[in-house]
């Protein structure tokens, strides 16, 4: 390869080189981590060595049923996300399609959107206790309003001209919604779901940190109380990996379901 391309603005680089650099970024952080901890520059209490974190992870799985924690969080997210999607997607479509629906709902939804989901935690604990229902409610509040607004934008972005084309081909208003607006909005809606799912992970951890009996957030808080820094770090990395996997899953689904997108 031509080494000058590295220092040429926006010049393309070979794919293999790109992958190496991507992995190199991870390796560099890992190496730095290993160096500062091995040389004793940072006490293990604040930051354990990478291998100690790995060991903590093994113990989490082997002794503390970490899998159950992962499942507890995942289950809550899926449930809250499902309910938010089932209600938010139709509402968003409605707002993006009918001006009257938009006029009625948008100010309301736009207002609630600015209330942070985490601020509802004390209220929901009061109403619903600290079980799954409260967590699901937090996910719902955090996702539903954003979701509805983002789907509204997606539906509104469908070009007027393709709706008009459908009319000139003999489509009724109902057919225009069903056969044009809906399929045209699909990829944008799936992308919205992907983004919202990322936020849902943040909400669940906050909710579990405040009050919980299981879940990744609970595990992190519990580890802090017992001064098990390795467990905290391993849990955080786990959340990152789960988020990454969900994201890749959505992108895969996007390619499978909508091969026609640009």
């Amino acid at each position: 390869m031509d080494w000058r391309s590295i220092l040429t603005p926006r010049a393309p680089i070979p794919r293999s080189f790109q992958i190496c650099l991507g992995l190199g970024g991870f390796a560099a952080v890992l190496f730095l981590w290993w160096v500062v901890t091995s040389l004793g520059l940072i006490q293990p209490f604040f930051l354990p060595r990478p291998d100690q974190v790995l060991r903590a992870g093994y113990e989490l799985f082997a002794e503390l049923d970490f899998l159950a924690d992962i499942w507890a969080s995942t289950y809550r997210i899926l449930l809250g996300f499902l309910v938010a999607s089932l209600l938010g997607v139709p509402l968003g479509l409605l707002m993006g399609t009918f001006r009257a629906a938009e006029a009625f709902f948008e100010p309301l939804v736009g207002f609630v959107r600015y209330m942070p989901a985490s601020a509802f935690i004390p209220l929901f604990i009061l109403w619903l206790g600290i079980g799954d229902l409260e967590k699901v409610a937090i996910i719902f509040v955090g996702s539903f309003f954003q979701l509805a607004l983002m789907v509204t934008v997606v539906a509104r972005a469908v070009p007027m001209e393709i709706l008009e084309t459908a009319y000139t081909l003999g489509a009724s208003r109902f057919q225009v919604i069903l056969k044009v607006l809906l399929p045209a909005s699909m990829p944008g809606m799936l992308d919205t779901l992907r983004i919202i799912m990322g936020w849902a992970w943040t909400y669940i951890i906050v909710a579990e940190l405040v009050a919980s009996e299981a879940g990744l957030g609970y595990r992190i808080l519990n580890s802090q109380r017992l001064l098990q820094t390795g467990n905290i770090i391993f849990s955080i990395i786990t959340i990152g990996v789960l988020g990454l996997l969900t994201d890749l899953g959505f992108k895969w689904l996007q390619r499978k379901l909508f091969p026609w997108t640009e």
Partner: protein
């Protein structure tokens, strides 16, 4: 002489823009005959697209009326096919599915729709692209599919709003020939909007020249060139004579349109 298909009587359209009343169309009077290829030619901003949108039923006139086969146009319908300048294929449907869209809406048998669509794929020269999505088609191919999609519905009139406006000169020329070929084969009535003089002369039986805003019909010209026509006719003396005549008419209007648009920021009325 063929009977009248489309009749436009005293049609006007005005709308409010920035608080001022703008007259886009004024007293439009025209008759399009059965199986005729008619063109509306005008400078940009003269309201020719507005007129076509009213005929398609996508916009309402402020006064006057338009009738197709004696029925007043009150909304969009499949008796009028429409092709827009912008690419309006449904991106989630393949070429075949796009062409069948209108037929399937009317609940016709699937195999029947497919047969019709396959015939059109051949007519527009896209065999082999039946299952391609619009994203993989060139601009010219997309417009061919759009024309086939409108024609598959078997409309009484085909309305085309600068359909080749976004294409390069060579593609455009080929598309014009293809359109003429299809028109001659299917005996359709076509109303074509353009600002390109050569295009109008090459395609039309008659040209309706429009004035700059407010749009009125300035002149109606017969194009006596023989049919069928191919690109070579564009070099004939007869063609050039007509083109010069039409150019002169349209040039006056373009100058008017240009000078009025330059004055617009300072004047209150439209």
């Amino acid at each position: 002489m063929n009977s009248v298909r489309l009749r436009v009587e005293g049609l006007s359209k005005s709308f409010r823009s920035h608080g001022a009343e703008v007259t886009a169309l004024e007293g439009i009077q025209m008759e399009i005959r059965d199986q005729e290829f008619a063109t509306i030619l005008g400078p940009s901003g003269c309201g020719k697209s507005t007129l076509l949108r009213i005929l398609a039923g996508l916009s309402r006139p402020s006064a006057g009326s338009a009738t197709l086969d004696g029925r007043i146009i009150e909304g969009p319908g499949k008796d009028r096919g429409m092709v827009f300048q912008n690419y309006t294929l449904f991106p989630w449907l393949t070429v075949m599915e796009n062409i069948q869209f209108g037929l399937r809406l009317s609940g016709r048998e699937k195999s029947e729709c497919e047969a019709v669509a396959r015939g059109f794929v051949q007519k527009i020269g896209l065999s082999g692209f039946e299952r391609a999505y619009p994203r993989s088609l060139s601009g010219g191919m997309k417009q061919r599919v759009a024309i086939a999609r409108a024609l598959a519905n078997d409309p009484n009139i085909l309305l085309l709003d600068e359909p080749f406006g976004a294409l390069d000169t060579q593609t455009r020329s080929l598309m014009q020939e293809l359109l003429l070929q299809i028109w001659e084969e299917l005996h359709k009535t076509i109303l074509f909007v353009t600002h390109d003089v050569e295009e109008a002369v090459f395609l039309s039986d008659r040209i309706f020249v429009m004035t700059a805003r407010p749009g009125r019909i300035k002149a109606v010209l017969e194009v006596p060139l023989s049919r069928p026509r191919d690109y070579q006719v564009k070099g004939s003396p007869e063609f050039l004579r007509i083109k010069t005549e039409v150019s002169r008419l349209i040039r006056e209007e373009s100058i008017r349109a240009l000078s009025s648009s330059m004055m617009e920021p300072r004047t209150q009325e439209g």
